[in-house]
Amino acid sequence: MAPVAIARALNMGLRKALEQDPKVIIMGEDVGKLGGVFRVTDGLQKDFGDDRVMDTPLAESGIIGTAIGLAMRGYRPICEIQFDGFVFPAYDQIVSQLAKLHYRSQGLVKMPVVVRIPFGGGIGAVEHHSESPEALFAHVAGLKVVACSNAADAYTMIQQAVTSDDPVIFFEPKRRYWEKAELDVDAPLTDAVPLHAARVVRPGRHLTLLAYGPMVKTCLDAAKVAADEGHEIEVVDVRSLSPIDWPTVTESVRHTGRCVVVHEAQTFLGMGSELAARITERCFYEMQAPILRVGGFATPYPPSRLEESFLPDLDRVLDAVDRCLSY
């Protein structure tokens, strides 16, 4: 089939999930007739009815809180949070309720809820539309947190997330929504890379670039440029931010001896902090250089005219690669 954009791949994955389990429902703001502001749920309400694809009142805590009740009743809600910056009204329900119910009920209550969040900047948006809050969720025990970076993963990962009996915070790289890739829609889901596995997306032997979501493409572009200068960069798409696939990550770093972590979220206490700390613990004797991090600054996300200075780009990634290689 023709290449498919990430937004479309998610749509196809959601459609499959709705087809395969009558308990799966989609709920969120504008997910019905409009098909979501990014059209990820386009056409689903028309085909599955407004019982399965529900426009909700405009209240994020209400969306997650009622999804919790629906999950207690045996449903598998997929909630759309319209933009990253709007998840915070629901943060209490996610952190204090959704994440903990399985634990506090000693396993008697399962919470198969997916919370989809388009995240990251680079689209020239007004404020609160470009945030990268993934570490705030990965920090919370009881949540699983993943980020897709390409259409093929988007298609499989959203379906895998829906089958999870644990709550999954599903980050979608909104600036890459329209990037296309080939999908194999006939391959059984059981053959796909597991949801919580990282993946080497470009092999190399001089340095490992760790990234997820929108920065995977940036890192792949950087690796291509570095190759022209004779540096063979390995790019690992971390994919799962909680839990992290340490075997894949550490194997890569042991092999290359050098590592740079890249994300849009601010560097301070970002995912890169945890990645760097653990990799250092596990790969200390194989390391040739300290792990460097490239990310957003310790500032609020700036006005969009400044976002290109804020966001890690090819040059900032290559600069860090050069610095890491110079040790």
Partner: protein, 370 residues
């Protein structure tokens, strides 16, 4: 609004009352109640036993056996009346003070004490009892109740949900969002607001400038104020509200006008913020005394009955105490249990590391295990 925390407002015209504080039976055109003598005596027994349980739990806290206790003293009628209105297949979502409702749902008292002793977060199966775990974040459970009701609606269930919360919670965004979602989807949920006049130290007038039951009208569903110290009125009104929800007419708000006769919890000191005279006034409206007065006046119970209940309560309290004191301590490695349904390599690894760490310090002859 009155500044005497419900003392004067209690008698106002909007209050549904079927049994006066003096034990006189009233009729209400909208809330007729058919009730047998046995049922009446059963309600008295429920009220007396949950009060005795509450007293014992408070004592256990004072003796250091519980970390904290949230007393239901004064709210027995609101909880027993509404709890006994539920069908077994209805679902209840409590706060952390619904010990009387828990009793009606067949929860073992020690399962409640486990939470307050710090052994676990509540030792009952929510599905087996149709009684959710206690929720401590104020008002959060009203959304769960609404979602659950939306699920029932989809399932074509003929049951309803009841969501408990308080006057303080009525200010929370979650409660207001629950009202909106319930109204929008016409969900079969009864919002049962126990207005006990105090949110720790903050009186109801800080939460609302209109009587709380009137809030419902703004959300598009009925709201009724019931005498929360009148078990018959609470039973009748809750029954009707649940039936209204089951019949597909949507949500319903009940404000049970009552009084927290004790402290917020055993960590609180209400003498810092309220007058003793207020409590004295409310004691005259005690939820149990009026049932006793009614039973006695109508020859439905004699001293042998009350003595038997008293003996049962004493024996019950002793059982609760014994169960509390013999509760097994959790083991350190229990920390890692059931964080995820699907497991987690990180949690597994931390468990193994901590296990090895503990093993390294364990005397060879230790018992009890990790």
């Amino acid at each position: 609004m009155t500044a005497d925390h419900g003392v004067a407002e209690y008698g106002a015209g909007d209050l549904v009352q079927l049994l006066t504080p003096e034990g006189l039976r009233l009729e209400h055109p909208d809330y007729p109640l058919e009730i047998s003598e046995d049922e009446l005596r059963g309600l008295y027994r429920d009220l007396a036993l949950v009060r005795r349980f509450d007293t014992e739990a408070t004592a256990l806290q004072r003796q250091g056996e519980l970390g904290i206790w949230a007393s239901l003293l004064g709210q027995e009628a609101a909880q027993i009346g509404s709890g006994r209105a539920l069908h077994p297949d209805d679902m209840a979502f409590p706060t952390y003070r619904e010990h009387g409702v828990a009793w009606c749902r067949g929860i073992k008292p020690e399962s409640l004490l486990q939470l307050f002793r710090g052994v676990n977060f509540g030792g009952w199966d929510p599905k087996a009892h149709n009684f959710a775990l206690y929720t401590i974040v104020i008002g959060a459970q009203t959304l769960h109740a609404t979602g659950y009701a939306m699920g029932m609606q989809r399932d074509g269930s003929e049951n309803a949900v009841i969501a408990y919360f308080g006057d303080g919670a009525s200010s929370e965004g979650d409660v207001n969002e629950a009202f909106i979602f319930a109204a929008s989807y016409n969900a079969p949920v009864v919002f049962f607001l126990q207005n006990n006049q105090w949110a720790i130290s903050v009186p109801e007038e800080r939460q609302s400038r209109i009587p709380l039951f009137r809030r419902a009208h703004g959300f598009g569903f009925p709201g009724v104020r019931v005498d929360g110290n009148d078990v018959l009125a609470c039973l009748a009104v809750t029954r009707k509200a649940l039936q209204y929800a089951r019949d597909g007419q949507g949500p319903f708000l009940i404000e049970a006008f009552t009084y927290r006769m004790g402290a917020h919890t055993t960590s609180d000191d209400p003498t810092r913020y309220r007058l003793a005279s207020e409590l004295e006034n409310w004691k005259l409206r005690d939820p149990i005394e009026r049932v006793k007065a009614y039973l006695s006046r109508n020859g439905l119970a004699d001293s042998a009955f009350y003595e038997a209940i008293e003996a049962e309560a004493t024996e019950f309290a002793a059982r609760v105490r014994a169960a509390c004191l013999s509760m097994p301590e959790p083991k350190p490695l229990d920390i890692f249990n059931r964080v995820y349904a699907g497991g987690s390599p990180l949690v597994d690894e931390e468990r193994a590391t901590y296990d090895a760490y503990l093993a390294g310090y364990e005397p060879a002859d230790s018992v009890g295990g990790r």
